[in-house]
Amino acid sequence: MHSLSPANGPDGLPRAGFPIELSFPSDVSLIEHVVGMVREECAQRQLSARVCNLTVPVALTEALSNAIVYGNGEDRLKQVRLSARLDDQALVLEVTDEGPGFDLDACEIDPTTEENLDREDGRGLFLMRSLMDRVERFTNGGNVVRLTLNRQ
């Protein structure tokens, strides 16, 4: 069994004390608590109020709820996994579900056009893309959505 906190992450960069790794059952009522933990850690690491109060909670809530609802079909026997890391360059949030994945690039609906404006859904990926610097999807023991926020 390896040490819980190696001095350097797999990318060779110092971990700076942030990493949060979490696996939990697919239930939307847990989202707020998971987000609360990540927000608190962002605040402790002196990220801006905007990042702690808007960017991270909204983008992360979208990714977690999609994983729970679409990825895992709200089946409580399926797990969602979150990995949150901060280094000098960026905050990286990875959300993994047990679903088959989806075509991220095909989901390019613009909810701000006149005909979409009064739709009730379809703003999740748009908000993730608007708030974060990068949204990626890949497969790694499950369907992963990775959100990256650069620190400049």
Binding site: E32, L54, P57, D121
Partner: protein, 110 residues
Amino acid sequence: MSFAIRKQGDVCVVDVDGQLIVGNRQELKQKVLDEIERGERRFLVDFSQTGYIDSSGLGVLVSLSKKIREAGGELRLASLNDDLKTLFELTKLDTLFQITNSRETGLASF
């Protein structure tokens, strides 16, 4: 997190305390639908005690605004902080909703 509905004059004022997100939006929706059912037509949602809102929270607001309009009523929003304003601007929902700065101006605007 909690939703309190209170009558001020002939306006139903809804206070959203905490987050308005996927886990609790149904509760808000049901409470407001019940008020429409009871004959209420003027609604003001006050966000001064609100944390963050996600896309399904925004979706519930859109859905309620339609239902209220269909019933011949009106929905207005008040007291958005800078982060919430940004959220409404990003999604252009600031053009769909009538948004006032404070509860008082919101109440006076009906």
